[in-house]
Symmetry: C2
Subunit: 484 residues, 2 copies
């Protein structure tokens, strides 16, 4: 039976010891050596005490080095272990003796290798930790990024605080989300890479983040789960308060094989996970980009269950593709009301253009007053829940970026006066030569315009956003019936 | 009943007249004015006679201007019409009088507007052309790009000759393919934008390109089809000799609505098209990028029906995603044989790495001798049909680009000695910060390494490549039985 580890004591850590810090290391050393971890924390400006541990050194990076954990003069919130696999059990014993609150084992080479020696060492660590009541994160993990506490996970992941938490069984996926998120305006409360989950699992971290006031959305990348029942009940409860967004890796045969080799995880069955998502209402995604888009949408848009869009596009063939892509990705493009069409035709010529939905108006999107007029007419149509502008990056080189930012200000100003305001969104085209797409996506997001790198990703995110709010509304209705 | 127009007489054109060329035009004029078309042809270095037609001018762009078509001293292969809609019927009458071989009507504002006047004008043009036995391309189209004849469609589409033909009901999609293709090393025989297909339809162009010796692959973007039976029989026959790649737009309700508004096309039903693809073996794609990837694959790889890959990747979480993406997109990742695994383990450490398939080897992919050794072991395994290297763009900043190019040379050299050679492919990762992905994709393709912008697009293209060759093999087997 899985144990409840009450993760959170000593978190965020106010002091950190790192076991296995060399004085120097070869240029070819892999990224997560003890010295590397130490340098990242120093560079991040971690304000608490840092204790390098190495019996053969006295000063490293200007810090006093301790020969062993028990010689450190204060109780430790977190010990990061980076020694080779065979030396880990002894360090874990030292952690028990020093009454350490949390131990993060970065070292790889355990059960995920599939080899006997690795499995044996992992079992030994488990036994020592359970007997000593020691909280182990990992092994085979990269640990934490906590921007508000100036704890950094990778050398290149910027410390941007914010409401998003990420619990990830992969340090690589955590790095990508921590790099990508800020491009969409997302900041992080805590990101956790927890590897093999020998003792503490996603459920433990989820419980902690559910109670964390800084965290408003919880994202997870999972390969395996130790206690499915406890995890499901927790997600079911939390998802009503803080959206839970999950990428479940390894749901195909070859993905599952890779999950065994990566974190020694048993990936589970597609059918079980389908039932899980249906019952909990958690939001399923299938990549980090997907996760970032859904999270951005949940944070930026006011709650809505509507999935009907009006799309402004430029180009006839492109508009046909726009219609197909929206429909195939769960966003409905309703025919506009006759009144809206008539009003659009007051200033839109039909030569080379069209006012079906998608509205194919290359001339209008180039022109700020026309854009405002079109937006207002579309937003006033009761069949429309949102207005999407779908254009290639080349359109943003000129004045359109400014026009879009102005329009967004106008939309937000109107929002104060009108509760039925419809969101304005930009989906960049990813067809053809797309070199600047990500640049404009980032700029638009910086200026507060929710922007997506492709129409596919926009529709996928908007569809799941609406489904999430529909799930909440239906659950609430059911609860009201039960309690009424 | 649709007529067979015997398209091809006077093609590629050796002379071109353009009706509706102004001396100057406002900077705000749309792209496809008569003067614009003339300037593009001059800039492209079209070697034949160019005849601007305008009753009120004598010299434009240094060329003698003719007052009307019948005053031009030679028979015309192609007349391009750019006058406003109401003036088109008279120009078409002049074309009949001048016994013009082909007429391309760029002008928009006909049946695609849904308005009575446009429909009436289109019917009038149709009547005149049928009575005069005149080949009409368009209206509402952009015409031709024929690199070998120095005929250019858009001001920015480079003239790169080659074996790919593109028949497109959208000038915008044609532009994107003509821009994107050369980045993947694709050159074009002919691209045709034919708009409303008032008289000449995709089937007519398909017949012509089927007989064109320069064309080896025929791609189509279709909104509607006039004569489904004739089209299907032609595709069925041609596809065995020249692969036929089709993007059918408007297969959803809102896509179909946009198709009516774009080219006045009736888009047809998903079920009918499913049956069409099943019977003809034509390759279905769903975007220009998709089309470009499939075409590149068909041109670069030797015929093969195999869909089993070994994937070299870097990163544990990324490898799980790799397995899932391949499986979900029709590429199988078989478990490697025990012998292959044992040989890989002779030089691959399992710490932070794995030799499941995907093979997660961040250290190996950074190292040319290791890469060659891994490729050779994987290629020698009978369960493997191809080797895919799946890495983020960041890996290519260093020495990997060179290593990959060296390895490709090595593969091609070995191919001379060994007929069972397995292709080497690169799929760049599109997760996270992807600014340089397209740059490295282009560089790899320039150096002859088939490279794709994402693993999804690689698998989708490779899957359809294998299916195409399986269709050919099965049809051949059936024919052999029938004739045997």
């Amino acid at each position: 039976l899985a144990q409840d580890w009450n993760f959170g004591e000593g978190f965020p850590p106010r002091n950190i010891a790192i076991v296995g810090v060399s004085r120097t290391e070869a240029a070819s050393a892999p990224g997560y050596t003890g010295l590397g971890v130490l340098c990242i924390l120093i560079q991040a400006g971690f304000p608490g005490n840092l204790y390098p541990v190495n019996p053969y050194a006295s000063v490293i990076e200007g810090l006093h080095v301790y020969p062993k954990l028990t010689s450190i003069p204060e109780r430790l919130d977190l010990v990061i272990v980076t020694v080779p696999p065979a030396a880990v059990p002894e360090v874990v014993r030292d952690c028990v003796d020093a009454k350490v609150l949390n131990v993060q084992i970065c070292t790889s080479g355990f059960s995920e290798t599939g080899q006997e020696e690795g499995k044996r060492l992992e079992e030994e660590i488990k036994r020592i930790a359970i007997e000593g009541n020691l909280r182990i994160i990992g092994p085979n993990c990269i640990g934490f990024q906590i921007p508000s506490a100036r704890i950094q996970m990778h050398a290149d992941t910027p410390l941007v605080p914010g409401p998003v938490a990420f619990i990830s069984q992969s340090g690589g996926h955590a790095r990508i989300f921590l790099l990508r998120g800020p491009e969409l305006g997302l900041g992080f409360s805590t990101a956790i890479s927890y590897g093999n989950a020998l003792l503490m699992d996603s459920t433990d971290f989820l419980e902690y983040l559910g109670n964390d006031p800084e965290t408003r959305i919880i994202c997870l990348y999972l390969e395996g789960i130790k206690d499915g029942r406890r995890f499901m009940n927790l997600v079911k409860r939390l998802n009503r308060v803080k959206p839970v967004v999950i990428w479940k890796g390894g749901l195909t045969t070859s993905g599952a094989r890779a999950a065994v080799s990566h974190t020694s995880s048993l990936a589970g069955d597609r059918k079980i996970w389908d039932a899980f998502f249906k019952q909990t209402g958690a939001i399923e995604v299938s990549s980090v980009d997907d996760m970032a888009n859904v999270t951005m949408t949940l944070l930026r848009l006011k709650p809505s269950t509507g999935n009907r869009a009006a799309v402004l596009a430029a180009g006839g063939g492109s508009s046909v593709a726009t219609g197909d892509i929206c429909t195939q990705n769960g966003i409905e493009l309703p025919p506009l009301s006759e009144q809206t069409k008539a009003k659009l035709l007051e200033f839109i010529s039909l030569v080379n253009q069209g006012v079906a939905n998608p509205i194919d108006v290359p001339n209008v999107v180039m022109d700020y007053p026309g854009l405002v007029r079109a937006y207002e007419l579309l937003a006033a149509d009761p069949v429309v829940d949102m207005v999407i502008i779908h254009l290639g990056a080349e359109f943003f080189m000129g004045r359109i970026l400014d026009a879009m930012v102005e329009l967004q200000k106008h939309v937000l100003k109107s929002a104060g006066q009108n509760h039925r305001i419809k969101p304005l969104l930009v989906a960049l085209s990813n067809e053809g030569q797309v070199r600047d797409t990500q640049k404009y996506e980032q700029q638009l997001n910086e200026f507060g315009v929710p922007a997506y790198g492709s129409l596919q990703s926009a529709c996928r995110a908007l569809n799941r956003f609406a489904n999430y709010h529909r799930f909440l509304a239906e659950s609430k209705a059911q609860n009201d019936i039960v309690s009424g």
